[in-house]
């Protein structure tokens, strides 16, 4: 089983021009490792819509890889997005499920089917080009460069130990820059970064 730090630190090391969409328990930890206008915190609830929002960015910017750092509870709320991502041929889309078996930020309540769902199998059945499962930090870190460079859609399931994250807010006291702005303000910052730059 990986820690959240073991999930995120290799991604921060290998990340170059990718868009990273976070949600739930990885939102704050990612914002402490990265300070990019291409990071997006889907942290204003929205009931599991980080993966589909990230897919929309991927379809709008086919020249750029888009990584959705999703949770297991969030994934269960938008399982249909597995089918949509394949149906629209999003070859630049990487969907990572950080599976800790619980709704961590609302108080560690158990997620339905925790520990029994084969998420990589679901993605494979939906037609993802690649579907990985990792439960050790070393293999994840070794495989990550290939995952980031391969043609997708790509799915990664990570078995992750629960952490201690609480509810996420947006305020100037948040250490992560992307949580210091309202969602509306940050959306404009990111849109400008995406439309005003080229790879």
């Amino acid at each position: 089983m990986l820690t959240v730090a073991q999930v995120l630190e290799p991604l921060a090391r290998h990340r170059s021009h990718e868009v990273i969409v976070t949600t739930m328990s990885v939102t704050r930890p990612w914002g402490l490792l990265s300070d990019s206008d291409l990071d997006f915190a889907s942290a204003d609830s929205a009931m599991g819509h980080a993966a589909d929002l990230a897919l929309g960015i991927a379809l709008a910017r086919p020249e750029r890889k888009v990584v959705s750092l999703n949770g297991d509870g969030s994934m269960l709320m938008c399982l249909g997005t597995l089918v949509t991502a394949v149906a629209c041929g999003a070859s630049n889309y990487i969907l990572i499920v950080s599976d800790n078996g619980q709704y961590e930020i609302t108080g560690h309540q158990p997620v339905a089917g925790a520990g029994r769902v084969d998420y990589a199998g679901l993605a494979e059945a939906a037609g993802f080009r690649q579907a990985y499962h990792f439960d050790d930090a070393r293999t994840w870190a070794e495989q990550l460069p290939e995952i980031l460079s391969s043609l997708g859609p790509t799915f990664v399931h990570l078995a992750v130990a629960p952490g201690t994250q609480g509810p996420i807010g947006r305020s100037e006291s948040e250490p992560a820059r992307y949580l210091q702005h309202s969602l509306s303000e940050w959306s404009r910052i990111m849109r400008e970064a995406l439309t005003g730059s080229t790879l």
Partner: protein
């Protein structure tokens, strides 16, 4: 020119790059026409909240999407709409096809009729239509209704313009056919 083709041409003129949604009897001909279109990309999704979140991501990436869903699916999509497009201030126009409006008219009731349990359980009333406009109001979504002889192409174009000008999701409820 067929109505669906005229609608697609109107979307092209309005600068729409993607149409995201789920077809029904009313929007089916539009989806058929879009599936052959050389520039507007059609993205068929699995749930209506997914359509709105995906469209919000498209807008973040610089695209100009239109969401096309039925009013039944709109009711399912509440928190997806609130937590993405509305909170983001994303100017997402939505074409909402209006199931149940004919029944509502035949039963001589409307969106302003008090929603008592007797009304909501009547067999001759489709409660989807009763709840559509009050729900849009409650969620802070400006909307127009396109009914009868009104030109659907003009109504959709106006909705796209209003979304862009106001910087918020905006809707047209289409209670007439698109053919």
């Amino acid at each position: 020119m067929s109505r669906p083709l005229a609608t697609v041409r109107g979307l092209t003129t309005a600068g729409i790059t993607h149409v995201v949604g789920i077809p029904d009897n009313t929007s089916g001909p539009l989806f058929d026409e879009l599936s052959r279109h050389p520039t507007i990309r059609l993205v068929t999704v699995t749930r209506e909240g997914e359509a709105i979140a995906l469209a919000s991501g498209l807008w973040l990436g610089g695209a100009s999407p239109l969401v096309v869903i039925q009013n039944t699916g709109l009711l399912e999509a509440g928190d997806g709409l609130r937590g993405t497009a509305t909170r983001m201030g994303a100017p997402i126009p939505m074409l909402i096809t209006g199931r149940g409006y004919a029944k509502m008219e035949r039963a001589n009731v409307g969106p302003d009729t008090p929603r008592t349990i007797e009304l909501l359980t009547r067999a001759d009333v489709d409660s989807t239509a009763l709840m559509t406009e009050p729900t849009l109001d409650a969620w802070g979504i400006p909307f127009r209704v396109c009914a009868g002889d009104e030109d659907p192409v003009a109504a959709i174009s106006a909705t796209v313009s209003e979304a862009s000008a106001s910087g918020r999701p905006t809707a047209v409820v289409m209670t007439r056919a698109l053919t």
